[in-house]
């Protein structure tokens, strides 16, 4: 069989089950693909030896009749997830050399289901970024390139899960773990023609996931289609007593939700997402999506999310505030980088270590977060933001009284070139305009590849659902996927 690395998870699972394919073969094909993907810089650490061991064990499991959804499936792990004894730095220099003595619950769930770890994936430092340009390990390249008259140009893969999407779109992993704080799964999925889903906050354990903003961080997955997303999401989900914010709920059979039938389902279209300045191509693909929904028998409902406009500024108070506190533990005392100046004391060690260890964007956000929490500003910024967050959440609750899911564009543009926005933090933040509101409300959301723009770059549509209703999000995503029939693939220029 050729191109084993291009199989979908569901296809591979079925072949493995029938004994027509071994995990060892599948894994070897992927180890080669990881090697070949080096120009993309998606992987910052390859764990082929672990992968080979896990693949053998997976084959034994399957032989013994213990096949689960992810048994024998090679995946990549975002560097945000702690993997025991393996590089875990959230792509920050401050965690220099850190190898945890523990495993995150999300990855443990995967290994318990028999999945195979190919390596650790690049990301924006501490998941702070929308273009994967803030990683200590360098930029990640989008497998999709901008086609111009002058030739092809590199584009960003989106962020912060840039390595995850690049590996999956570049056929160097069948799926990848990712995390979403303000859009870090959905936006990069849209930029790379992959499927990404962020479940409801509390669906996946945050234990062992390096924290950025605790009230927003949620693990999720990147795959090449909706079915694969359902399979992998089911594996990483579930209650974890080690995370106080994890929900004690049974995990549904997500794959079973993909019935293809959305007749009579109400799809909400929020008026406020028709932002001024949104490129026509984005509006067009959205309209197409609405059309597909109608054709599939869904009912289109106009809804209003009146506080949409305030979601980004709210996010840029809440997330940095939490981050400023979450990142206080990186102090050079117990792990990671330590910078000292001879003869100086503890405080200079802190200040030098944190100046050298954190990149510019991380420093910027820590500074903002510290400021908005500081004496005299707490009420005006932080408390105000928490109140607006309540209003944003209420908007969704009210909207979901009128509809079952909400359909919007995922991002206000397609992938852009490196450096296009990295000098202007505000322009970069605006990338998350469509994804941030759902993060603030904690509701599930996905991004489905819907088409290409005039430059040949993928565009995605976002499906948002009610809290704990990932099943409907997946069902609608699946119908959208079938309607869009997105079969494009990037040319494998990096091989």
């Amino acid at each position: 069989m050729t191109d084993l690395n291009k199989l979908k998870i569901a296809e591979a699972r079925d072949l493995l089950g029938k004994g027509e394919l071994s995990s060892v073969e599948l894994t070897e094909a992927h180890i080669s693909a990881v090697e070949a993907s080096k120009p993309l810089n998606a992987y910052i650490e390859s764990t082929s030896e672990i992968a080979r061991t896990q693949a053998k064990s997976a084959d034994a499991q399957i032989k013994a009749g213990n096949q689960k959804g992810m048994t024998g499936i090679p995946v990549g792990i975002k560097d945000l997830f702690a993997t025991k004894g393996v590089h875990t730095q959230a792509c920050s220099k401050i965690l220099d050399g850190f190898k945890p003595e523990y495993e995150s619950t999300v990855t443990q769930n995967l290994w318990d289901d028999g999945a195979v770890m190919l390596g650790k994936l690049n990301m924006d430092e501490f998941a702070m970024g929308s273009s994967n340009e803030t990683s200590f390990y360098g930029n990640v390249l989008n497998p999709w390139r901008l086609k111009t008259a002058a030739g092809e140009k590199d584009t960003v893969p989106g962020g912060s899960s840039g390595g995850s999407v690049s590996a999956v779109a570049g056929f160097a992993a069948m799926g990848a773990t990712a995390s979403d704080t303000g859009g870090s799964i959905r936006q990069p999925a849209a930029f790379t023609g992959t499927f990404g889903i962020k479940p409801t906050y509390g669906r996946c354990s945050r234990f062992g996931m390096v924290a950025f903003a605790s009230s927003l961080d949620q693990a999720g997955v990147i795959t090449r289609d909706v079915r694969d997303g359902a399979i992998m999401l089911e594996s990483i989900s579930g209650f974890d007593p080690k995370d106080s914010t994890s929900a004690k709920l049974d995990v549904p059979n997500f794959e079973a939700a993909l019935t293809g039938d959305i007749k009579g389902l109400k799809v909400g279209i929020p008026a406020e997402y028709r932002l001024e300045g949104t490129p026509q191509e984005i509006l067009d693909i959205w309209d197409k999506g609405i059309q597909w929904m109608k054709e599939a028998g869904a009912e289109i409902v106009e809804i209003s999310l009146p506080h949409t406009k305030y979601a980004l500024p709210t996010y840029y108070i809440v997330a940095p505030a939490e981050a400023s506190s979450n990142l206080a533990r990186y102090d050079g005392v117990r792990y990671g980088l330590r910078e000292t100046v001879d003869g100086d004391g503890l405080i200079p060690m802190y200040e030098e270590t944190r100046a050298a260890g954190f990149g510019e964007e991380v420093q910027r956000r820590i500074m903002i977060g510290t400021y908005v929490l500081s004496a005299g500003y707490y009420d005006a910024y932080y408390l105000k933001a928490q109140r607006v967050r309540q209003l944003i959440s209420r908007d969704f609750k009210e909207a979901f009284e009128k509809c079952d899911v909400i359909l919007t564009p995922t991002a206000p543009s397609a992938a852009f070139e490196f450096g296009a926005k990295s000098d202007d933090p505000l322009a970069m933040y605006l990338n998350d305009v469509f994804t941030v509101p759902a993060s603030l409300a904690g509701i599930p959301g996905s991004s489905v590849p819907a088409g290409l723009d005039k430059d040949g770059l993928p565009l995605g549509l976002q499906i948002l659902g009610k809290a704990w209703d990932e099943e409907t999000v997946l069902k609608v995503s699946h119908v959208l996927e079938m309607a869009a029939a997105f079969t494009h693939q990037p040319s494998e220029w990096w091989r």
Binding site: E101, Y201, R338, L346, I347, E351, Q363, Q390, A441, A467
Partner: protein, 96 residues
């Protein structure tokens, strides 16, 4: 709402324990002012009587029973330490 100047940047940097060289302070003040100025559009929103939302999870805090389930792993605790001696983390002395 407020104007961040070099002195404020120095103060926040101190609170954040991040060394910011003096020549960088002015530029950073500009950036932060830009971001905060944009954030201040929140002032338009009427939030009278709205409860601040700290968590999106609508359940009660779950409790652990009082049993010792962890600890006794000095080696693991110290394994990644930049400097550890005699079972302790070692850090430069606090200089008053």
């Amino acid at each position: 709402m407020s104007e961040i100047d070099k002195a404020t940047v120095a103060k926040i940097a101190r609170l954040s324990r991040i060394k910011i060289d003096e020549e960088k302070q002015a530029a950073l003040a500009g950036e932060l002012n830009n971001i905060l100025g944009w954030i201040e559009q929140l002032e338009e929103v009427d939030t009278d009587g709205i409860e601040p939302m700290a968590s999106v999870v609508d359940t009660k805090l779950k409790w652990r029973t009082d049993v010792i389930t962890d600890g006794d792993k000095q080696e693991s605790v110290l394994k990644n330490a930049p400097k550890a001696e005699y079972g302790f983390f070692a850090v430069p002395k606090v200089i008053e």
